[in-house]
């Protein structure tokens, strides 16, 4: 089973955000075992990624080093200097203790294992 997240499953939670951060591109894949969330955060080193899971809201924050090194002059700028903020509200119980995160080539991959109760069950016919 490999379904993408439907709006009813996980909705972006945006309330109460006033910082000048932007929402990164992200993708969610759901399997029978876990959700996999992939967040694109180019320019963010591992040390400045912050993850938080509270009251079924997953918050991902990433600061990027915006400062242009001394003596460097910008000639052309397209890359946003602003950091990233993604808040996702999950309505499926996940096992936060077993949540894993990996940052590779500017992409953060989170794996959120589902709780037993949320997993699909086979009911045998007697």
């Amino acid at each position: 089973m490999n379904t993408t997240c439907s709006p009813s499953t996980c909705t972006p939670a945006t309330s109460g955000v006033t910082e000048s951060l932007r929402k990164p591109l992200y993708k969610i894949n759901g399997t029978a075992e876990a959700y996999e969330v992939r967040v694109e955060m180019p320019g963010v080193p591992k040390s400045s990624v912050k993850l938080d899971f509270e009251e079924s809201i997953l918050t991902v924050r990433g600061e990027r080093s915006t400062a242009v090194p001394e003596g460097l002059k910008a000639l052309h700028r397209e890359l946003s200097p602003v950091g990233y903020l993604l808040r996702l509200r999950l309505n499926t119980p996940v096992n936060e203790e077993q949540m894993t995160a990996k940052l590779e080539d500017g992409v953060l991959t989170l794996r959120l294992p589902l709780k037993e109760v949320a997993k699909p069950r086979q009911i045998p016919v007697l």
Partner: protein, 145 residues
Amino acid sequence: MKIIRTHPFSINRVSGLDEWFRHPLAGLPSLSSFISNLGEVFPGVAGDKLAVDVHEDKDNYFASFEVPGVKKEDVKIELNNGLLTVAAEKREKDGEKESSFSLTRSVSVPDGVNAEAIAAKLEDGILTVTLPKQERSKPRSITLN
């Protein structure tokens, strides 16, 4: 990751062609914008455009491209006739199936860049190409005998 020099006129110019500098010799702006618009008309030809920053210091120009999720071996950098082109192949794995798409961007390089010494580095999804400026020949005074 390799820097490849190819023969002039054999290039794919149908991608985001940008002028770095408002230099009198930097080319025709109207032509450049016409060419870059082609990329939007034929997205399949040009691929998606990569965002780029360009900085300079006393000795180098630095071009930084945003390439999240791209592996080192899937990046190709080419300098051709004063045009630096970055082509990146992005591969994504969704469970069993794998998809890939290509991203390209070209920027014109000013004169006076030492093409042999161009270097590139990939870190945290940002590709930085360093283009060293050529040492200008020092002024010479000639004495009359």
